[in-house]
């Protein structure tokens, strides 16, 4: 039975959360100098996989992705896209994982890693979605000549999906999916075995 007393597990989680949030933000700020170039390069490769001719170009400039096409004149428009808006959701994901007692135990380690992999994949796909929106709507006459209204509406919807719903909900969904026994235990919906498991320090 769930305890009718305020749950110790939940209290521990809430106590750890502020520090976990600070640690996650610090970790992510430290990783960014490596992650931003990785994201730009991966985004460029992924964008080129879904286009012909393969002309997508993504540069990194001061924390933003500069998106363009190599087959257009050098003075054509380039899209400047702040990468933080794409990958900030790694911070709440890491914070929620770090705050949950036992989340990095051997049993959950691979699941957490897989969840993080899905988050990274979503960042790459979000960048590709922004590239496609830029092609469809950001290159003036060239966009109007090469994309119809339906395509523009489709890519607009795709960008909305990646910019708002997925960015905000994916960290929670992945956290809950990777650690669902422990998350369920926090609200009293977990098997006895999980709720009464001996606790480790830390």
């Amino acid at each position: 039975m769930p305890s009718p007393q305020p749950d110790a597990e939940l209290r521990r989680f809430l106590r750890r959360l502020p520090l976990a949030l600070v640690a996650a933000a610090a970790m992510w700020l430290a990783i960014r100098p490596l992650y931003d170039p990785f994201l730009c390069r991966s985004g460029e490769i992924a964008a080129r996989m879904v286009e012909f001719p393969k002309v997508a170009k993504i540069h990194l400039a001061e924390g933003s992705a500069l998106v363009g096409r190599t087959d257009l004149r050098a003075d054509s428009a380039w899209l400047k896209l702040p990468l933080t808006q794409i990958h900030f959701n790694a911070v709440p994901f890491l914070a929620l994982v770090l705050a949950l007692p036992g989340a990095l135990a051997r049993r959950y380690r691979w699941r957490v890693l897989a969840a993080f992999g899905i988050l990274v994949l979503s960042h790459i796909l979000a960048l590709v979605a922004n590239v496609k929106v830029f092609y469809a709507a950001g290159l003036g006459e060239w966009s109007r000549a090469n994309y119809g209204d339906a395509a523009r509406a489709f890519y607009g919807a795709l960008r909305y999906f990646f910019d708002i719903p997925l960015t905000f909900t994916l960290p929670l969904i992945l956290w809950a999916a990777a650690l669902w026994e422990r998350v369920a235990a926090l609200v009293g919906m977990a098997p006895e075995a999980v709720r009464t498991a001996p606790r480790r320090r830390g």
Partner: protein, 190 residues
């Protein structure tokens, strides 16, 4: 045999085939919650993306958020004003966009509350209290970002995206956990 509580999640037992495990999960209250929550989020995010909803609900709501922040800033003697979704004072201006109005955190919380097995009275009360709490913290966010813009404009982007968006998402999770814990225990007693 272990004793399972009505709100217990089963872990599949001997049958580990993914379809069977999925069916077993969906047959539990926790599984049904996950499916309902995903459906509620999908409906909620599609709804706020529709142009009529955006024009008649989301934009006025965002303007309302800007006015709340204006009131808070004027209490601090800023002499701020709002034009559309732009909050400005002689010292700094911010535009409140979709994604900065707290609506996403409200959806995350409210959908979680509506999908959770609880009485409708608890759900409506939880949704109303959570809505107000997220409104309050979002006003603190806008005001604090305004002052970051005034005193440390070079920190604005980091504070806006990394710090505050993360805090708002995590805050919605905390609220939901507290509410759900309270009502999971209440459901267990019944």
């Amino acid at each position: 045999m272990p004793r399972w509580h009505p709100l217990t999640v089963t872990t599949g037992g001997a049958d580990n085939r993914p379809v069977e495990r999925w069916k077993a999960l969906v047959a539990t209250p926790a599984g049904r919650f996950v499916v309902r929550y995903a459906a509620a989020l999908a409906v909620g995010f599609v709804l706020i993306a529709l142009k009529p909803v955006n024009d008649h609900v989301v934009n006025p709501y965002t303007t309302f958020v800007a006015h709340q922040a204006r009131v808070a800033l004027n209490l601090l003697g800023e002499g701020a004003s709002v034009h559309g979704q732009v909050l400005s004072s002689p010292r700094f201006s911010v535009t409140i966009f979709n994604g900065c109005n707290g609506l996403e955190a409200i959806l995350i919380f409210v959908c979680g509350v509506l999908a959770f097995p609880a009485t409708w009275r608890s759900r409506l009360l939880g949704a109303a209290v959570g809505f107000l709490a997220i409104q309050l913290i979002n006003t603190v966010r806008v005001v604090s970002l305004f002052y970051v813009g005034v005193f440390k404009p070079e920190w604005f982007s980091t504070s806006h995206v990394f710090v505050w968006q993360s805090i708002i998402v995590v805050f919605a999770v905390i609220l939901w956990l507290l509410w759900a814990r309270r009502h999971a225990v209440a459901a267990a007693r019944r």
